[in-house]
C-alpha cells in the first residue's frame, strides 16, 4: 500500500486552510447582522464543505485516462462552484439577505480555493504567511468587535480554539515537511528513513503542544507565582537590610530612647512602637547565621541535595523498564537500549573531574602568588601530586617520590619530573635552601603539566 501520510496531511492542511477565513467571516457577520455565534459556526461548516467539494470535483475531473478536455474541466469547476455558493446562500437565506450574500461569497471562494489546493503538495498549502495573516485577522476581529461592544462578545468565543487548531495542524505539517525537506535536500530516498521517525516526531510535537497548552491554561497561576516570588524576595532584601542596620546601630550604640531597635519576628518590619532598647535581636542574628552557614557550606549542601535527588530518581526509575529492541533493515541492524543508571553515572564522574580540575587551577593560581621559596616548593610538589591523581594515576601512601615519578612516566612519556623530585627530596630530607633557579624550573615544570593535560 502506498504511504497514506502525505494524503492525510494534505487533507488536514486543506481543512486548516478553510478555517482561515473564519475571523473575517465572524467580523462580517457581526458587523452586518449582529448575529449570534451559531451562524458563524454554520459558516465554518459551509466553508469546509464547499472547500472539500472543490477538492473532490478536481479529484474526479483529473482521474487518469479522463477524456474530458481541460477547457470543459475548468468550465465545470466554475459552474459547480457558483452553483454550490448559490445553494449555500439559499440554505442560509432565512437569516437575511446580507447573510445570504456573505455565505455565497465565502462558500464560492472556498470552493475555488479547494479545487486549486487539490493540486498542491501538503507542505505548500498551509504557508507561514497565511497563518500570520490568520493571526492578524484574528486580532483585528477581536479588536473591532471589542471596540464595538466594549465587552467580550459571544461571537469571539471560538476564535481562540480555532486559532489553536490551525496552529496545531500547521506545526504538524511543518514538522513532517521538515523531514521531507531534510531528505530531499541531499536527495536521500524516503524509504531509507527509519519507519517510526515520523510517528516519533509527531509524539514530540504533541508533547510540546501539550506543555504550551498547560502554560496557557495556567498562565494566571504562573504569573501569580512569579509575582509572589518577586514580592517575597523584595521583602527578604528589605528585611536583611533592616537587620544589618539595626545590628550596626546596636553595636555602635547610636540608639536613643524612643528610637530603639524594634524586635523583628515573623518577618515583620521594624516599627517605632515595637521592642525595647535592651532586647537583643535574636531573629536577625539567627537569620545572618543561617545565611553565613549556607554560604560557607554551600557545596556539601548542594551535594546532599543532589544525592537526595538522585535517590528519588532511582526510586522512580525502579518502575522504568529498560527497553531493548532490535530493528532489522535491508542493510543494517539496530540494537537500541535505554541507558542504565551505571551508564548514566559515568556522567557524574566527568562532573567530579571538572570540579577537581577547577580546584587544581585555583591552587595553581595561589601557588603563583606565594613568594617564600620553601612554601612554594611544597605547594609545587603538592600540585604535581594532585595533577597525577587527576590523571587517574594510583598513588599509594607508601610510594616514594621516585616511585611516584615512575608511575607518572608510565602514563606520560614526555613527563620530565626528575628535577622537581630531586629539589623536593633535597628540601624535605636534607633541608636544603631552595634557590630561585630551582623555583624557576618548578614553575616551568608546572606549566608543562598544564600543556600536557590541556587543563
Amino acid at each position: 500500500m502506498k504511504n497514506p501520510l502525505p494524503v492525510v496531511l494534505k487533507y488536514l492542511s486543506i481543512f486548516a486552510c478553510f478555517l482561515l477565513p473564519y475571523p473575517l467571516f465572524t467580523l462580517a457577520i457581526y458587523l452586518f447582522t449582529r448575529s449570534s455565534v451559531g451562524l458563524t459556526l454554520w459558516g465554518v461548516l459551509a466553508m469546509e464543505a464547499n472547500g472539500f467539494l472543490g477538492c473532490m470535483i478536481s479529484l474526479v475531473l483529473n482521474r487518469p485516462k479522463n477524456p474530458i478536455a481541460p477547457v470543459i474541466k475548468n468550465i465545470t469547476v466554475i459552474a459547480v462552484g457558483i452553483l454550490a455558493g448559490i445553494v449555500t446562500g439559499m440554505i442560509f437565506s432565512y437569516s437575511g439577505i446580507i447573510s445570504m450574500v456573505l455565505f455565497f461569497v465565502f462558500s464560492a471562494v472556498c470552493f475555488f480555493c479547494g479545487s486549486r489546493l487539490y493540486y498542491n503538495h501538503y507542505a505548500e498549502i498551509l504557508k507561514t504567511m497565511l497563518v500570520l495573516g490568520f493571526a492578524f485577522a484574528n486580532l483585528l476581529s477581536l479588536l473591532l468587535i471589542f471596540c464595538l461592544t466594549e465587552k467580550e462578545s459571544s461571537a469571539t468565543r471560538f476564535l481562540a480554539p480555532l486559532f489553536l487548531l490551525v496552529l496545531l495542524i500547521y506545526a504538524l505539517v511543518r514538522n513532517q515537511s521538515n523531514i521531507d525537506q531534510l531528505m530531499e535536500r541531499r536527495r536521500h530516498k524516503m524509504e531509507h528513513l527509519p519507519k517510526k521517525i515520523r510517528y516519533y516526531n509527531s509524539i514530540l510535537l504533541g508533547i510540546m503542544c501539550l506543555v504550551t497548552l498547560i502554560f496557557f491554561l495556567a498562565k494566571d497561576q504562573i504569573a501569580d507565582g512569579i509575582g509572589w516570588i518577586g514580592r517575597e524576595l523584595i521583602r527578604l532584601i528589605i528585611l536583611v537590610i533592616g537587620a544589618i542596620t539595626t545590628l550596626l546601630s546596636s553595636l555602635l550604640g547610636f540608639q536613643k530612647a524612643g528610637t530603639s531597635v524594634p524586635e523583628l519576628g515573623d518577618g515583620q518590619f521594624p516599627t517605632a512602637e515595637s521592642g525595647a532598647a535592651s532586647d537583643f535581636p535574636v531573629g536577625i542574628v539567627l537569620l545572618i547565621i543561617i545565611i553565613v552557614l549556607l554560604i560557607l557550606f554551600r557545596k556539601p549542601i548542594i551535594n546532599k541535595l543532589r544525592e537526595i535527588g538522585g535517590k528519588l530518581a532511582a526510586l522512580l526509575n525502579k518502575s522504568r523498564v529498560l527497553q531493548r529492541t532490535e530493528i532489522h533493515s535491508e542493510y543494517y541492524e539496530d540494537y537500541v537500549h535505554t541507558l542504565t543508571d551505571e551508564e548514566r553515572g559515568m556522567e557524574n564522574g566527568k562532573k567530579d573531574d571538572i570540579d577537581h580540575i577547577r580546584k587544581w587551577k585555583k591552587l595553581y593560581r595561589k601557588y603563583l602568588r606565594v613568594h617564600e621559596p620553601e612554601k612554594r616548593c611544597e605547594m609545587g610538589y603538592r600540585l604535581f601530586l594532585d595533577w597525577l591523581i587527576l590523571q587517574h594515576i594510583d598513588i599509594a601512601p607508601h610510594d616514594t617520590t621516585w616511585d611516584i615519578l615512575q608511575k607518572g612516566k608510565q602514563h606520560f612519556e614526555l613527563l620530565d619530573g626528575m628535577d622537581i623530585t630531586e629539589i623536593y627530596n633535597l628540601f624535605l630530607y636534607r633541608e636544603d635552601i631552595v634557590s630561585p633557579q630551582q623555583i624557576e624550573s618548578l614553575d616551568l615544570f608546572l606549566k608543562q603539566l598544564l600543556t600536557i593535560s590541556r587543563l
Binding site: N175, P194, Y200, Y332, E333, D334, Y335, T338
Partner: protein, 381 residues
Amino acid sequence: MLLIILFAVFAQNWIFEHWGLKKLDYHCRLSTDEAVQYDEIELVETIVNRKWLPAPWLKSEITVSRDLDFAGAQSVVTDKSRFVPSFFMVRSYQKVERVWKVNCTRRGEMEIQKIVLVSTDLFGNVTLSRPVETDAHVLVLPKPFDMEEMFFAPKNLTGDTVVRKNLLEDPFFFSGVREYTGHESMNQIHWNASVKEQNLMVYQHDSTSSQTLTVLLNMQSRERDFSEVPVLLEGCIRTCVAVLENTLTEQIPVRLMVNGNISASLLKTHQGLVSTQSWGQEHILELYRLLAKLKYGISDSFDDYLMDISDSVTSSDIVIVTSYLTDTICEFIRLKQRQGIRVKCFILGRISEEEIPDDLDLFCLREQYNEQTQSREEWVS
C-alpha cells in the same frame, strides 16, 4: 496566547540550538583492522544520548573508501569515496548501535574518511552539524586465485632441462653406499654395509642445492602503454598471493620483487619493491600486506627492471607474474634457465598461441577468463 506560542517556538529553537548535539556521543568503528578481499566485515555506529532532550532526527554522513561496499542503494559512490547517510531517532538516555554489513570488494588500505553529524529541531528552524573524528581503517589483503582452475600450460615442456649442480658434494647428504676406492678417509667407511658385503664400503654423497623462490611481479599493464588496467593488475597481484601461499606448505624461503611500490613518492624515485627473503606464516603475511598496499604505477618498465635485477636474482626458482610477454622477458627466462634456475611465468593478459615460445614454462589464463576481461574479476570473486 500569541506570546506564549511565540515563546514556546523560540524556547524550542533555543533548547535545540544549545543542547541538540551536547552530551551526544557518536563512535564509528570497523570490526577488524585486517581482512581478506571479499570478506564481510562490520561497520558499527554507536550513538549514546546522555541527556533528557531527544534527537528527533539525526543523520550521520559517513564517507568511506569506495571499495568498502555497503548500504546498497542508500549509498552514493563517487570516484574515490562512498557516501552513506545513516538516519537515527534517539530518545532521551538511549543508546543505539547500528551494525552495517560491509563487503571488502578490493584489496588496499581502506578507511573511514570523514563523518559529519547533522541534527535539527522539530520545525527545521535550527540545523546543527558537527564533524566526528575517527581513525577506523582496515587493510584488505588480496584473495589468492585458485591456480589450477585459473591457469593452464599451453605447451607442456618435455625432455631434458638444465639443472644447477654444485661441484662439491654435500657431506651431510647420503644418497647410498659404494665400494671403497682407496682415496676415501676412514670416517667415510660405512662399517655395517662393509660387514654385510664383506668388502669395504663407503658413504655415497651427492650435491644438493637449497630451494629458494623469487616472485617477480610486473605492475605494468601493457607493453607500450603505461596506463593502468586495474583488472589485469589486480589479477597479477592475486596470482602472486596464490604463488606465495603455495610456498607455505613446503616452507620455501621466498622473496618478492616488484617494479612498483607502496607509496607514490618511492615510485617517483624509481625504487622498486624488494622484500626480505624468509619463510613461514609471518613472512608470507607480511608479503600479503605489502601486496595489499601496492599502489598503481611503476618504478621502471618491466623490461628495464629485469635488466637491472638480473644479476641479483640468485634463487633456485623464479616465478614471473605479468600481464604481457615481451622478448626481453623471454630472454630473461632463457638466461636464467641456462643458469639452472627453474622459471615459471604466469601471463594474465591475452596472448595468442603463436606468441608462446616452445622452450619456456608459461601459464596462461584459461579461455573463459580471457574472453571477457571485464567480467573476469566478477567471475573469480
